[in-house]
């Protein structure tokens, strides 16, 4: 069996969940076994749509309605052991990252994070993963009977040609938590960076936090997340949660636009997996141009508002 953690946020499946289901279901086919998604929470809807991504069966645990890592991990581990799961697939989201270590101990399974490829071998299970903050690629094999994989968001795509009508089985598992959640806050209207398809990012070249409107305007027309360089988050112009780079968030978007960022090696480490990189900088010697697909030497305050307008008329 292949078990897949079908993560939800506010009772809806995340986009990364469809990636995990697609991945797990494809692996199950290759292994000649069934794929089973595990869904938590009492008002998740519509569960049947997971069939589109190829899953054979859904186990729905209604009693566990919030993300407390130990509680979710224990339920996933019990289900995996009971069904003799050989592979457990997670998303590399904040929640997936909270689970992988706990699960590794509870199941006594090899845990491979940051996975960027489908299995290149099933016996032993072997995959490629991103390491050294995207400066290296590692091939890893599992030595254990069951293996846990967590996938880099946006890296492996969604396969949505399934037409299975998965059976949904309710399973009663009580919450067994070690921490109690007091409060969850989501910054409203924001696109979470790890799963954003497009990201607009700016650095000290913007000269001050009051100038960020040109960045958010561009992000809005692209339906992109906003990010910043480390110095900008260190001086408090933008929140830590926007810092992308080696010690910040590592992103994997289709499009990354870097404005007024010189491109220090630590910054590149967090963004180099982006499929297309556009760099706008007034310094033609900025090292970031060497890592870019498209470069514009120009003043951000002139170029960025005009780019926003050009995109607006393109969209019409």
């Amino acid at each position: 069996m292949v078990i897949i953690y079908a993560e939800t946020w506010e009772n809806e499946f995340k986009k990364t969940t469809f990636e995990a289901i697609s991945y797990g279901s494809k692996c199950a086919q290759e292994m000649g076994v069934e794929s089973i998604a595990v869904v938590f929470g009492n008002s998740v809807n519509p569960i049947g749509e997971l069939g589109k991504y190829g899953v054979n069966k859904v186990i729905h645990v209604q009693e566990i309605d919030e993300f407390e890592p130990y509680s979710i991990a224990l339920a996933l581990s019990d289900i995996t052991k009971e069904l003799n799961g050989k592979l457990l697939v997670l998303n590399g989201t904040a929640n997936g990252k909270s689970l992988i270590g706990i699960l590794s101990s509870l199941i006594n399974a090899a845990a491979i994070s940051n996975v960027t490829s489908f299995p290149i071998n099933h016996k032993p299970l072997t995959v490629m993963r991103s390491a050294f903050s995207s400066k290296g690629i590692e091939q890893v094999s599992s030595n254990s009977d069951c293996t846990i994989l967590s996938l880099v968001p946006n890296a492996l795509g969604i396969i949505s040609n399934g037409d299975s009508n998965p059976s949904v089985v309710l399973k009663k598992i009580d919450s067994n938590h070690k921490t109690s959640i007091l409060q969850s806050e989501k910054e409203s209207g924001e696109i979470p960076l790890p799963e954003a398809e497009r990201v607009v990012s700016a650095g000290r070249g913007l000269k001050g936090p009051e100038n960020w409107n040109i960045i958010t305007d561009l992000a809005k027309v692209l339906n992109a997340g906003t990010a910043c360089s480390k110095p900008v988050s260190d001086i408090g112009w933008r929140p830590h949660s926007e810092h992308v780079g080696q010690t910040g968030i590592q992103i994997n978007p289709e499009l990354y636009i870097a404005i007024g960022i010189s491109g220090a090696i630590q910054h590149l480490a967090g963004v180099s997996r982006s499929k297309t990189i556009v760099v706008i900088n007034n310094d033609p010697e900025a090292p970031f141009f060497k890592a870019a697909d498209y470069g514009i030497v120009g003043d951000a305050f002139d170029v960025v508002p005009r780019l926003t307008e050009t995109l607006k008329s393109f969209k019409k």
Binding site: A110, A111, F132, E138, Q139, V140, T247, G248, K290
Partner: protein, 248 residues
């Protein structure tokens, strides 16, 4: 309060990464090693906790002798004692098993790890350690307040944050926010001198099993040459993003 900070000995963030010719491991030639940046936030938090609640800050790493300068640096920054588990880390399962065995022999109230190491980026050890010790766990922890036995934590979630409470002992995996960049301490001369006389003990491994086996390493493919576009021709950029890259 007994505080343990787990430290990885990793290539400096500015390092150019390359691998030995058969791809079996990192080419350490000319690479400067440092305290993993996530662990440095954790170490500083440990020192803050000691200043507030009293007690001791111990640091620990799983590594060979070459990791000792990193432990000495942690002592120079302010830790009271250092422990080296004498061996080579292979994967999260083995590393967490070794650290768990050490903790079971030594009892700590707060165990602080970094959310991941910047070399292998596994992010497995902290949670695996918590589960092996049967303790509460908070990943991506950006705030930790302790009052008696009660702990209040904030963790980063995708696009937001979450507050939770728990009881000591606890394992956290920290990152920036736990303390700020400007809180980080650079060892001074006195710190460096006293670090030499602080205890650094070496412990043999219990020989636990490696479950995920590294096969080989390679470099990501090189980017093709950048296309420069005139700032007066933004229509061309939009056209390329649409027709060539197909990202808009």
């Amino acid at each position: 309060m007994k505080i343990l900070v787990c430290i990885s000995h990793v290539p400096d963030t500015t390092s150019k990464i390359s691998f030995v010719s058969d791809g079996s491991s990192l080419d350490k030639n000319g690479v400067q090693f440092v305290i993993n940046p996530y662990d440095e936030f954790g170490l500083t938090k440990g020192l803050h906790l000691r200043e507030k609640h009293g007690g001791t800050v111990s640091v620990l790493t799983l590594g060979d002798e070459s990791a000792e300068p990193t432990l000495r640096k942690a002592l120079a920054i302010g830790a009271d004692e250092a422990h080296r588990l004498n061996g080579v880390p292979h994967d999260g399962a083995q590393t967490s098993e070794e650290i768990a065995a050490f903790i079971k022999r030594n009892e700590f109230d707060v165990i602080i790890c970094g959310q991941e190491s910047i070399d292998y980026n596994g992010g497995v050890v902290p949670g695996a350690l918590a589960a092996k010790l049967d303790l509460p766990f908070v990943n991506a922890c950006i705030s930790l307040d302790i009052d008696g036995n009660n702990v209040k934590t904030i963790r980063e979630i995708d696009g937001g944050k979450e507050t939770a409470k728990a009881k000591l002992p606890i394992v956290i995996a920290g990152k920036k926010g736990l303390v700020e960049e400007h809180d980080l301490r650079i060892p001074n001369m006195r710190g460096i001198m006293t670090a030499r006389s602080k205890p650094l003990s070496v412990h043999e491994l219990i020989e636990s099993k490696t479950l995920a086996q590294s096969v080989s390493f390679s470099k990501p493919p090189e980017k093709k040459e950048v296309k420069m576009i005139s700032p007066d021709n933004l229509e061309e950029l939009v056209r390329l993003l649409n027709e060539e890259s197909k990202v808009i």
